[in-house]
């Protein structure tokens, strides 16, 4: 049991625990802020998977962008939301939630079974990667490689994403415009 493993378990616990609080909590504001903790825990997991650039991007985009957007939308539609929360004060597993719980639990059983059956540690291409040294080492990150790949091998998806981002920007601005001055 080395340090990385302990950190992994701590991060996994933080992530799953805060995600459960998001699922269970009655208070919407609290669940949004626990979602914040989940995203930080996931960034920690990315670091443990030797993907530090993805982790930093996760923090910048999710925590800096998406979470502020969600809070903003929540504040703008606040009153009705709080009323809806107030009448939902029954216990955690009500009849409506029971079906959702059963569905999620069955999904979990199936997926855990699949993970154990698939035996991902012995996949052929993973083994080949381990033998040929195609594994990202712990002591150096591949940020240079990511930059080079982004501009050569993945240039087409990169440009497609940029166009799609602009479309989304225009679309969001169009949707949230006032009705009268069309």
């Amino acid at each position: 049991m080395n340090l990385a493993q302990i950190l992994f378990y701590i991060m996994a616990f933080v992530t799953l625990g805060s995600a459960l609080v998001v699922a269970i909590s009655k208070n919407l504001v609290r669940s949004i802020f626990m979602f914040f903790v989940t995203l930080f825990g996931l960034a920690g997991l990315y670091v443990l998977a030797v993907a530090d650039f993805v982790a930093v991007t996760q923090i910048v985009i999710y925590v800096g962008g998406i979470l502020v957007l969600i809070l903003f939308a929540f504040m703008l539609s606040g009153k009705q939301t709080l009323d809806a929360v107030a009448q939902q004060q029954n216990k955690f597993i009500s009849l409506g939630n029971l079906y959702a719980f059963i569905l999620a639990a069955l999904f979990l059983v199936v997926m855990v079974n699949v993970v154990f059956k698939a035996d991902v540690n012995a996949l052929p291409w993973v083994k080949t990667a381990k033998e040929t040294g195609n594994v990202i080492p712990v002591n150096q990150s591949g940020i240079n490689n990511i930059g080079i790949n982004l501009m050569t091998r993945y240039l087409l998806p990169f440009e497609a994403i940029s166009i799609l981002l602009m479309i989304a920007l225009v679309g969001a601005a169009h949707l949230s415009r006032k009705e009268g001055n069309a």
Binding site: L20, A84, A100, M111, N121, W125, G171, S176
Partner: protein, 101 residues
């Protein structure tokens, strides 16, 4: 040594929590949070497998693309939620049952 299996188990649990939130909650913002959790579970898998692709960086690259796509999705979805709120004065997904009034 953290194996791939550990990452996949965490990701499966996260996915199921997201599924539970989507099915159980009635508030549109909470449903959106559930969708984000499921997307993050998928991204975690991409990143975990991406470690074994040092030369092409396939996993990390598509994790980045997925994060950016999630950001675009959220922006549009929140604009739609605000529009729905303006029209119906509620964002309860059970009560929104008309395309036009």
């Amino acid at each position: 040594m953290i194996t791939l299996q550990d990452f996949m188990l965490v990701s499966a649990a996260l996915f199921c929590i997201g599924l539970f939130i989507i099915v159980a909650k009635r508030n549109a913002i909470q449903i959106l949070i559930g969708i984000e959790l499921m997307l993050n579970a998928a991204i975690l898998n991409l990143v975990a497998f991406g470690r074994y692709d040092r030369i092409n960086n396939g996993g990390q690259m598509f994790a980045l693309f997925a994060i950016v796509l999630a950001a675009a999705t959220t922006a549009v979805a929140l604009a739609i939620i605000l529009n729905v709120y303006r029209r119906y004065k509620t964002i309860d997904a059970d009560k929104i049952n008309q395309l036009k009034d």
